[in-house]
Symmetry: C2
Subunit: 183 residues, 2 copies
C-alpha cells in the first residue's frame, strides 16, 4: 500500500509556533498537556517525548514567544521616529491598546507573576522581552533627545506603570499621572 501518512516527523521547531499560538490565546492557566497537544496536532505523549517534561516545554515556548516579540513590535509601528518624548509615549500606549497586542499583554502579566514567584523559565522570558522592548524603545526616541539611553529607561518605567494601572482598572489614574508629568 502507498504511504498515506507521509511520516509527519514532528519536531520542536514545528510544534513551537502552534504551542505559542495556543498559549497566547488561552494563557498559562489553560496550558496543560492535552489541550496543548490537541492544538498542535499531536498527543501529550509526544509533547513529553520532544520536550522531556512540561516545565521544559513551557520554558521553550516562553523563550519562543520572547523571540518573536520584537517582530510583533516592529510590525505594529511605522519606521519614522517620534518628534517628542510625549509623542513617543502616546504612540506606544496607543499600540498597547490595539487588539492584536492584547494576547501579548495578557500573557505578559502572567509572565511577570511567574517571574515574581520564581517559576522556572518565566524570569528569563520576561527579562528578555523587556530587554527587547528597551532596545526598540531606544531606537524610537526623538533624534534630538538629550539623553536617549536614560530617557528610554525612564519612558519604559512610565509606560509599564501605566499599563499595569490600566490592567487593574486605573487607566484614568495613569492618564492623569502622565498629564501631571507633562508626558
Amino acid at each position: 500500500m502507498q504511504n498515506t501518512s507521509k511520516k509527519p516527523q514532528m519536531s520542536k521547531e514545528m510544534l513551537l509556533p502552534k504551542l505559542a499560538d495556543y498559549i497566547l490565546k488561552n494563557g498559562m492557566g489553560g496550558a496543560s498537556l492535552r489541550p496543548l497537544a490537541k492544538a498542535a496536532g499531536t498527543s501529550d505523549r509526544m509533547l513529553i517525548y520532544h520536550f522531556g517534561n512540561k516545565e521544559q516545554l513551557i520554558t521553550d515556548v516562553l523563550a519562543y514567544i520572547a523571540g518573536i516579540y520584537s517582530a510583533v513590535l516592529d510590525a505594529g509601528m511605522g519606521e519614522e521616529r517620534a518628534a517628542t518624548r510625549q509623542q513617543c509615549v502616546a504612540r506606544i500606549l496607543a499600540q498597547g491598546r490595539e487588539p492584536a497586542m492584547q494576547p501579548f499583554l495578557v500573557l505578559w502579566w502572567e509572565i511577570v507573576a511567574g517571574s515574581a514567584r520564581g517559576v522556572s523559565g518565566y524570569r528569563e522570558a520576561g527579562e528578555r522581552m523587556m530587554s527587547e522592548l528597551l532596545l526598540w524603545l531606544e531606537t524610537q526616541m526623538p533624534v534630538d533627545d538629550p539623553d536617549p539611553v536614560g530617557g528610554a529607561r525612564y519612558l519604559l518605567t512610565i509606560i509599564e506603570g501605566s499599563m499595569m494601572l490600566s490592567a487593574v482598572g486605573h487607566a484614568r489614574t495613569a492618564r492623569e499621572g502622565l498629564v501631571a508629568s507633562g508626558l
Copy 2:
C-alpha cells in the same frame, strides 16, 4: 459526657484571616480547596458550605486582603511626610524591598494577571488596592508640593513601573530610569 468539642461554629469571618494568610504565603497557584481547608482548620466540604463555591471564596479572600492592605501600608512607614518627591519615591521603593512586603508584592502580580485576563474578583481587589495606595500616597506627598494630587498619580505610575521591571530582573533599568528623570 462533657462537651469536649465546644461547637466550633466556624464562620466566614473566622476563616478569612487564615485563608488570606495561606494565600499570601503560597499564592493563587496553590489555592485549592483542600490545602486551604487544612490551613484554616476545617474541610473542603465546609469551605464550599460557607462560601458557596471556590470562585466566591477567592473573591472574598481577595477583598479581605485588599481590606487589610492599607493597614500594612501604614504600619510599614513613619508618619512624617517626605521632604521631596525624590525622597517619597525612594522611601516607598525601599519599603517594597522589605521582606514583610514580599508576600503582598508576589500576590499582587497574580492579581494583576487575573485582572488582565478578566477573572472574577481579581479586578475589584486590584482596583481597590491601587486606590488605597493612591490615597495613601497623596498623604505622603511633600507638604509644599505644587500638585500633590497629580503628582501622586505620576509617582504611583513610576513606582509601579519600577516594581514591575524589578520583578522581571530589570531593577537596574528601573533605577537608571529614575536617575534619568531626576527622581
